[in-house]
Symmetry: C2
Subunit: 234 residues, 2 copies
């Protein structure tokens, strides 16, 4: 029996874990007792909601966040090297997509440990599906610059890429800066450019609408403190 | 009660539908009796495997494939306009990601019909998670040119984008041309560039490995007729 590094998605809204994670993902979680996580407290809560029946106190957690140094990472894979599978849990959505997990996955490949990605919700992918934009070609940019002038410049570059490459452009913003981002988007981009705003995906407050910048200008939604994915197509 | 256009993912391998689709996705399917599909026969089979208990014979299917003309599409949304929710089912993975579904989603937004994306497996996203490459910035290019010279040129452009933008580059190939693609990749790209080959994701034959081009050159896997996602990082 070889050991795996399982990549375990989490919920992205306030939905029940069992509503958005499929059976195979839930079954794998049951079999593990060592996890790499971004936050131990929320990961404990996640495991309980996912129906974890073994004693939470016996779980070994390795903490992987922005403060984790490179030198700590190889040790996180020791159990997998000696034949015991471990799990990498995301704080929200899919591990390694806009989160620090990729660092440890890269090490796993170097060490010859098999990596097994499991199915779960990703706000980026769900937003792309629901946008109505090109799904044959798309680019995700993470977070844009915070500075207003630089952000506007970047938005225009992204709009140009969308037009030249017929490519959907996807990005995010810190939730408390969403409304400033929206004002910058409608100020910077052409009236004909299409914008999809996808907020609070998979929650009861889900809001997903695609309109031209010209139409959005007349009535901008309030996205303050809402998890939002922005998509542009031109 | 307003009507929705639900985006329903399907399996991507030979796994049990209930292993990879979460409860909420399975529950929504139960409530619908009109679907937009790429292939009626496989969609019927999918619904049965997903535990659909109503009579399959009473389902209304609208066929959306490359032969469907623009003029047919608005009619596919008539039921949703008159208050009855409908589903858009993908042939494999998530609708509208590398499939023709986006055309009808764009029309739904224009008609003011709410679009609800549901969670399921996406080979592109699972491959990205498992690659160990940058998940904060990535681009998906669909299929590259088939012509050998043009393909090599495009591969080099993509490698340059990966290096300049610190951006993971993702693409696919028709399964029976995978081995030719692999030979072209190792011939065209720098020895130090990293390549992840992700084949048959979520199946028992799943193969996901990340190595430098230099290392791959010594031992190329046989990917003939295997569904494969290629990822490059430089």
């Amino acid at each position: 029996m070889s050991a795996f590094l399982y990549l375990i998605p989490s919920t992205i809204g306030d939905y029940e874990v069992k509503d958005v994670l499929p059976r195979k993902t839930l079954d794998v979680i049951q079999d593990l007792d060592e996890f790499i996580v971004e936050n131990i407290r929320t990961s404990r809560r996640f495991l309980i909601k996912a129906g974890y029946t073994k004693s939470i106190d016996n779980i070994k957690f390795n903490l992987l966040d922005k403060h984790t140094s490179e030198s700590e990472l190889p040790g996180f894979l020791d159990s997998a090297k000696s034949g015991k599978s471990i799990g990498l849990i995301s704080e929200a959505g899919c591990p390694c997509v806009a989160d620090p997990g990729a660092r440890v996955v890269a090490l796993a490949h170097q060490a010859g440990i098999k990596v097994k990605p499991l199915t779960g919700p990703s706000s980026i992918l769900l937003a792309l599906m629901a946008s109505g934009f090109n799904g044959q070609s798309f680019a995700f940019h993470g977070y844009l610059p915070i500075d207003t002038k630089q952000q506007q410049k970047r938005l225009k570059e992204i709009e140009k890429q969308a037009r030249l490459n017929d490519q959907t452009q996807i990005f995010m913003e810190a939730p408390y800066r969403n409304n400033k981002m929206l004002r910058n988007i409608v100020m910077s981009l052409s009236e004909a450019t299409m914008l999809c705003i996808a907020s609070e995906i998979t929650t009861d407050g889900e809001f997903i609408e695609t309109k031209s910048i010209g139409l959005w200008k007349k009535n901008l939604p309030d996205c303050n403190k809402k998890n939002t994915v922005f998509l542009i197509f031109a």
